[in-house]
């Protein structure tokens, strides 16, 4: 269970595996220590996210997963260690390569759904006309083609969620960092949206790093799952998900899915004395 063990077998098992369009490069997190003030959020964290891969970060709440995600995206600088995208160290936001979806969605209430999506392009200097077309296309992709002029306050939680996803997809960034994007939704909605999101990301061949506290979500969506310890968070274990792609909801009834969930649960519980959590 080492951070650097390659997993070609996961996608090798199916012919319809996601193919990274143009390999933007592996995200390499190396010995990252994130602090805020006196608090050490993460300590010596290392793992990779390979092009086209879906990796989940799980761990006890407040363990520093979100801080780690923000560090990967260049919004925070590590106190030590480094994050690279391909060979390039990440020293600040790289909006043309990495897009975020935040837990609270961060939609601008005075902007319509379309103009919220357009903002990502506006800040990258895309001309007005192209902005509009791409934003409308992204909204159609997430199933909101009929309400582009609605404001966030007029949309349901699930629809706002989709606007945020559309805004992350529209930029053509190959890597998506998702910070508990379904946290505010009820159980059914989040499963449905999760499945739809997965299909969408598979179609777009995106690389994904996904912070969640739902073991079911992590098991269903991921190629690999990085399990963190309580704060200061370290990598406890990295688990390959033994399910083929594309995923179908039926797989949630398979014994290996239950076994995986069970194992994740065991890893998140406090270590018994002398045990290694397995």
């Amino acid at each position: 269970m080492d951070a650097d063990v390659a997993a070609p077998s996961v996608r090798g098992t199916t012919g319809t595996a996601r193919r990274p369009a143009m390999a933007a490069g592996t995200i390499r997190v190396r010995n990252v220590r994130v602090t805020y003030g006196e608090v050490v959020a993460t300590e010596d964290v290392s793992f990779d996210v390979r092009p086209g891969e879906f990796v989940s970060l799980i761990g006890p709440s407040g363990c520093g997963k979100s801080s780690l995600l923000r560090t990967v995206g260049g919004l925070l600088q590590p106190a030590s260690g480094e994050v690279r995208l391909g060979e390039v160290p990440i020293l600040g936001p790289v909006p043309d390569k990495i897009a975020f979806v935040f837990q609270d969605l961060a939609l601008y209430p005075w902007r319509s759904a379309r103009r919220n999506v357009e903002l990502a392009l506006e800040l990258q200097g895309v001309p007005r006309r192209e902005r509009r077309e791409r934003a409308l296309a992204a909204l159609r992709d997430v199933g909101l083609g009929d309400v582009p002029e609605a404001f966030p306050g007029q949309l349901s939680g699930g629809m706002k969620q989709r606007v945020a996803v559309a805004r992350a997809l529209v930029s053509k960034a190959e890597t998506l960092l998702l910070d508990e994007p379904f946290a505010a939704l009820d159980e059914q909605t989040r499963l449905v949206l999760g499945a739809q999101l997965l299909t969408l990301l598979e179609q777009h061949g995106k690389t994904v790093l996904f912070v969640t506290h739902s073991l079911q979500e992590a098991a269903y969506l991921s190629d690999r799952i990085v399990v963190m310890t309580p704060r200061p968070a370290r990598v406890k274990e990295i688990i390959e998900v033994p399910l083929p792609r594309p995923r179908t909801p039926e797989m949630m009834r398979r014994p290996e899915f239950h076994a995986l969930q069970h194992r994740l649960m065991g890893l998140l519980l406090p270590d018994p004395p002398g045990g290694d959590g397995r």
Binding site: P93, A99, F100, W110, S112, L123
Partner: protein, 253 residues
Amino acid sequence: MSGRRRRAIAYVAVVAALGVVWELLTLLGVVPVLVLPAPRSVGQALTAILGDPSSVLAPITRTLAEAGVAFAIAAVLGVVLGVGLGLSRTLRQTYEPMLANLNAVPLVILYPVLAALLGLGFTSKVALGAMYAFFPIVIATVRATSHVDQNLITAARAMGAGRWRVLFHVILPAIADPVISGLRAGLGLALVTVVAGEFIAGSSGLGYQLAASSEGFHAPVLFAWLLIIVVLIILLNGCFTALTHLSQKGLHR
């Protein structure tokens, strides 16, 4: 349409009722005519004043110019300083209580000082008006700026926005509503203060007309000028509301 008509009827009814009460008070001699003149004599005074357009327009333009300059100064200083203070936690915690305290001081007491420094003309009125208009604007701006959702700023940075684009794409739109309320309050205060300044010591403007007619015990003339000021304020407020609507339309797209 019918809602609007109903509101118009209610409006007119209240004004008419006040007029009737006024007429009755003077008819029955409850209040001396020297203090509260009969509506008819006020009407006569009003037509006399309005009969000479230049005598109405000169004080109105004078007062509006003073209030306008005062408001413009206060708006620019208030919004710029307010955003600056609101963005820095340390600065805000240092100066926000100070602003609140200063706001509670009746700054009119400074008018003799201002008059001595700047004379009794245009400038001292503008200075007093600007001082009064400044506080509601800066206080509203500081508060609104410090309450901007940090996540909206983080998201914009993640999308590649630098400092200035965060300011123009996130902070300014986010604070527009409360700042506009502050501006409206500031405009009203600028006008009132300028009129008060003219009333205390001045040789022109609406405030001076009030002072001159009240000192001469020309109650009907005094009331005619009061009516003119009220109508002016209603018109100004209407203009402001229209502007607000336009800016909201431009922002919410």
